[in-house]
């Protein structure tokens, strides 16, 4: 760990990607407003040009500009993050301090999360270039004017959520983390409700906002209790305090409340009720971001709290204190998600429930980390690395196939709607390549080789089984740690999930298209490019995921 530096010029270098996003944000706010506006010096007839307002310059008046700026910003930030990741080693780490307090820490672990966030937001931004209709600038139609006018709003919110998420990734203090979380959350609340003219949009947005703020409030209450207990919200001090004091009734209650806040973000049962409404009300790229980046953000919070703060304290048998609670949560979440998805007729709700199920798989992996006998410190770190790496890999590749599936629905939305299973009907004939991509995403979600989803599920199950079997030999399977049964539940759930994922394939290839839906879909080059990128990622990381696994392992190692 390198020495911390106070706010200074080094910081700009260290926080390059974040500043890129910030500058991009300012540009989107300012650039479209550049015009020949002037400023009259009071009391004089002298007018000074100050370039804001007035008649906008032709070059900046295009409603496409904010979208392009956002894509450019996200691409640049992602490029910087990946550049860092390729160069860094697990031992690297740079602290940003202010007044002796750790604010941020830049290392591989935080950067890989930023890569996940930025990749998801970049793909969603590319896709949104087509998804948000842009009309002719000369049109007088009120809808067209309205849509052209709000282009900038949409991308500003995307960038603020990117900024919020990266703050969460870097935070070394619970309070900073919470600020970032809220910045990202509020951006997504508005993004979900962005199509407020549609009933589903405003309903989903309102539900998501209300449930989300309650969860945040509960989380915040938990934070206040943590502060009461430890006198600090710094991660390292909380961890030290936990180690010294152990679990008290106050700290346990605080932990429970904080978990609620994050469990909402990853849409774990029973805090998932808003998710299906939010996903189906939001436009598809935004729903994709909720299911990938926003979920990764919640997962990140859980990891910080469960693995950094509370793990040093262990129960009598050496496992973490929260293991039972988390195990039950995982089992309920994955089963509930899958069973609810079986009955969903709306493909976006189906994907939302499948995302709940995936949250269950991830919680099962976290449970496995807690199950490790932390008395054996040498091995504990290794086991944690394996499972955390599996989780990182899972969240990374999830961006491709989960978001990709939402984007395919996004293409259908451009035609008229994707809220019924039958809107996918006949896609195999109408758009063979799109249907193939959707099928790849579905079987990847189900975990069929050789897709990336299989490799990630394999890694997660491997992690759980490795922890459960331990190093010693077993005399019977009953001797394995009970998290082994979570792995069994997970594979059974995968089998159940096969049914609804396959149903999409059947509908696409077997059913006749709905009335009035014939021929190829509306064109949209950029959303198709985004889908193609997702499909390539889904297949490529499944076939040759080795490098990414390495990266994730390094990143997991840097968490310690």
């Amino acid at each position: 760990m390198s020495t911390g530096n106070e706010f200074d010029t080094d910081m700009i270098e260290t926080l390059g990607p974040e500043f890129t996003v910030f500058v991009g944000l300012l540009l989107i706010m300012v650039v479209p407003n550049l015009g020949n506006g002037t400023f009259r010096i009071p009391g004089t007839p002298i007018r000074l040009p100050w370039f804001l307002g007035g008649t906008r310059f032709k070059a900046v008046a295009s409603p496409r500009l904010p979208g392009l700026l956002a894509v450019l910003t996200m691409a640049l930030a992602l490029f910087q993050v990946i550049w860092y990741l390729l160069d860094a080693t697990p031992a690297d780490g740079q602290d940003i301090m202010a007044g002796g307090v750790f604010i941020f820490k830049v290392n591989m672990f935080s950067r890989i999360f930023e890569a996940i966030f930025f990749a998801a937001l970049l793909l969603a931004a590319i896709a949104s270039l087509d998804r948000l209709p842009i009309g002719s600038q000369k049109s007088d139609d009120i809808d067209v004017l309205f849509n052209n006018r709000r282009q900038a709003d949409f991308y500003i919110l995307m960038l603020t959520s990117a900024l919020g998420m990266s703050v969460v990734a870097l935070a070394q203090d619970m309070f900073v983390l919470f600020v970032g979380l809220e910045l990202a959350s509020f951006s997504t609340y508005i993004l979900v409700a962005f199509h407020k003219e549609s009933r589903a949009g405003s309903e989903g947005g309102a539900k998501y906002f209300i449930v989300g703020s309650v969860a945040s409030a509960v989380g915040l209450y938990g934070l206040s209790m943590l502060y009461l207990w430890a006198g600090s919200l710094q991660f390292h001090e909380l961890a030290a305090h936990w180690e010294a004091q152990g679990a008290t009734s106050l700290s346990m209650m605080a932990l429970g409340f904080v978990l609620v806040g994050f469990a909402f973000k990853i849409s774990a049962a029973p805090f998932h009720f808003a998710a299906p409404d939010a996903y189906s009300g939001a436009n598809s790229p935004v729903a994709g971001v909720l299911a990938t980046a926003s979920k990764a953000m919640g997962m990140l919070g859980l990891m910080r709290v469960l693995l950094i703060i509370t793990v040093p304290e262990a129960t009598a048998d050496g496992s973490a204190i929260w293991i039972g609670l988390l195990g039950v949560l995982a089992a309920v979440t994955m089963t509930w998600g899958n069973i609810a998805a079986l009955g969903s007729e709306n493909p976006k709700r189906m994907l939302a429930y499948s995302s709940v199920a995936h949250a269950g798989y991830m919680l099962a992996a976290l449970t496995a980390i807690g199950a490790w006998n932390w008395g054996l410190v040498d091995n504990a770190g290794v086991a944690m690395d394996v499972v955390v790496a599996a989780l990182l890999f899972h969240m990374f590749v999830l961006v491709f196939f989960k978001l990709g599936a939402f984007l395919v629905l996004g293409v259908l939305e451009m035609e008229g709607g994707a809220s019924r299973l039958s809107s996918l009907a006949g896609l195999g004939k109408r758009e063979p390549l799109l249907a193939v991509a959707m099928f790849l995403f579905m079987i990847s979600l189900a975990g069929v080789p050789p897709m990336a989803g299989f490799l990630s599920k394999l890694l997660v199950i491997m992690g759980i089984v490795e922890v459960a079997t331990g190093t010693g030999s077993l005399s019977s399977i009953g001797d394995a740690h009970w998290v082994w049964w979570l792995a069994l539940l997970m594979v059974i759930n995968s089998a159940i999930s096969m049914f609804y994922y396959l149903r999409i394939g059947v509908v696409m290839y077997f059913h006749e298209p709905e009335e009035g839906r014939k021929g190829p879909l509306a064109s949209g080059a950029s959303i198709r490019i985004a889908i193609a990128l997702c499909a390539i990622g889904t297949v490529a990381f499944g076939l040759v995921g080795g490098e990414l696994i390495d990266l994730c392992r390094d990143a997991a190692e840097s968490l310690r």
Binding site: V465, L474, V491, A495, M498, V506, V544
Partner: protein
């Protein structure tokens, strides 16, 4: 120069199929129709080339070494590359006496299937899927890495799912999903078993060859991983393979999948895909857990017996020809289990030979079903009345297929059944009454009923109603060629079974000795 033929036989057809699929999907329907014939030709040539390579392998290296190079856990044409280094996953291929007959069978069936369905007008995507299926199947048989094995094991599901879904019968949607979900469920449980085993190993490895060495070393002096664990893992792995096989009571997906699948799909499904189950049993649970096998010997025997009897009885009651053939497959797969449970080198060799023989005979029966459906527009056995008069080629092929399936001497099925009976007698004594009686009675019943439906009816027989007064057709030339080829191979392996039986025998003997299991 050392050419890795096996990897090429896996990768090339899959790549070719993806290329052809992308090529044809870019075209509009009118242009696509023009591509039907060239795509079919390309698929045929590729499959023929694969057959040639497999045959040359046999005539060259594999035939030459007298079987010593392909005994238990020694492999020919072995090649290994790093795949995912970080997890220790490799791409390792090789063939032994267990897998080579299956590889050869796959390459044989691919061109024959394409010939048999030459005139089906299936469209330009059908034959590429067939190629992909072939490549994935060979991948399963040659894979010597646990991860690679599982990848190809699941990959076979995808082309078959689409073949059933796109060209299947009326209930194809139900059948395709049932097929996928049954086998997928079983195989994820198998996957968990494999992973649990992986982490319990002393030296963790995905290489099947090293696993077997490790297991046998521990099994010789004690029980590898402990008996309890071995039993649980054995059940988990066997579950995956029993569903694939399929054995009663895990067979309900099979009749649906078969009845709905197109002819080519059924031929590959019955010919090779079912054998994946039996192959997997030999390759993993039996090779790794001989102690558990001994524990479960009787249960496996009972499952086999139930499959045999149940399949035969249900088969008797069918009025749908394809369903009847499908249930007869369940019955024959029971025979394979009986062979395994006999724990005799002869019984195992019988099981292996049954896999091979059934792999030639059942595609012939399904080809007959397909031709019947194609020309008579019906699957009902009632519609066959007097067929010998109207369509002598079809009737002859059907009779031949049934005779071969029921184990007529000098045909391939007989060799396997005879060997099985002897081994079973050694192992279980008077129990032989059950399989013996079932085989004899069903044989007699089928032949009698077939004779009545196909040949009787005489002058008064009218063409079946399903033709709606069209002239009664006989089968096409392409179908004739396919039938003749399959019949020729059935006779060839009936008269000269030693072509492959030698290597199977070698493999089972060395396997028994290696695993320290009992033998005659």
């Amino acid at each position: 120069m050392n050419v890795d033929y096996l990897s090429m036989m896996v990768i090339l057809p899959i790549l070719a199929s993806i290329f052809l699929l992308i090529l044809t999907s870019r075209l509009n329907p009118a242009a696509r129709a023009k591509f039907d014939a060239p795509v079919r030709m390309a698929a045929f040539i590729i499959s023929l080339a694969m057959f040639a390579v497999a045959t040359l392998m046999f005539l060259g290296q594999i035939g030459d070494d007298g079987g010593s190079g392909i005994a238990f856990n020694t492999f020919e044409f072995q090649e290994s590359y790093v795949w995912i280094e970080q997890l220790g996953i490799t791409w390792t291929v090789g063939v032994d006496g267990l897998s080579f007959p299956m590889v050869w069978l796959t390459t044989l069936l691919m061109p024959i299937t394409i010939i048999a369905t030459w005139n089906e007008k299936a469209g330009a995507t059908y034959f590429p899927l067939m190629l992909m299926l072939g490549g994935a199947l060979i991948g399963v048989f040659v894979a010597l890495d646990m991860f690679m094995f599982y990848v190809f094991w699941e990959l076979t599901l995808i082309p078959m799912f689409f073949m059933i879904l796109k060209w299947g019968g009326k209930d194809r949607k139900y059948a395709a999903q049932k097929f996928f979900i049954y086998t997928f469920t079983a195989s994820v449980i198998m996957l968990l078993g494999l992973l649990t085993m992986y982490f319990l190993m002393d030296t963790q490895t995905f290489s099947m060859q090293e696993m077997v060495v490790q297991a046998s070393g521990a099994n010789a002096s004690g029980v590898w991983l402990g008996l309890e664990v071995q039993k649980v893992l054995f059940i988990m792995l066997m579950l995956g393979f029993l569903v694939k096989l399929p054995a009663a009571p895990f067979h309900p997906w099979l009749p649906d999948a078969h009845v709905q699948a197109p002819t080519g799909g059924s031929m590959m499904l019955a010919g090779v895909m079912l054998k994946m189950g039996a192959y997997g049993m030999f390759r993993l649970p039996i090779s790794l857990f001989p102690h558990a096998l001994e524990e479960f010997q009787f249960i496996i025997m009972m499952i086999g017996l139930v499959s045999l009897v149940w399949g035969a009885i249900v088969c008797l009651g069918q009025t749908n020809l394809k369903k009847m053939v499908a249930y007869s497959s369940v019955s024959h797969m029971g025979v394979i289990l009986l062979g395994i449970a006999s724990m005799q080198p002869l019984g195992w060799a019988a099981a292996l030979f049954m896999m091979f023989a059934h792999g030639i005979i059942s595609p012939m029966l399904f080809a007959v079903c397909g031709a019947f459906k194609h020309h008579y527009h019906s699957m009902e056995i009632g519609a066959m009345r007097g067929m010998a008069k109207h369509s002598p080629w079809l009737a002859t092929s059907m009779m031949f297929g049934w005779m071969a399936s029921l184990g007529l001497p000098l045909l391939a099925g007989f060799v396997a059944e005879l060997m099985l009976m002897v081994a079973y007698w050694y192992a279980y004594g008077w129990w032989i009454i059950f399989p013996g009686l079932v085989l004899a009675i069903t044989a007699a019943y089928y032949l009698w009923s077939m004779q009545r439906t196909i040949f009787e009816g005489g002058e008064a027989t009218q063409p079946p109603e399903s033709l709606h007064g069209e002239p009664v057709p006989d089968i096409d030339n392409s179908e004739k060629i396919a039938m003749l080829l399959l019949a020729a191979f059935t006779i060839l392996f009936g008269i000269m079974p030693w072509i492959f039986l030698d290597m199977m025998d070698m493999w089972t003997r060395s396997a028994m000795a290696f695993l320290g299991l009992g033998g005659a």
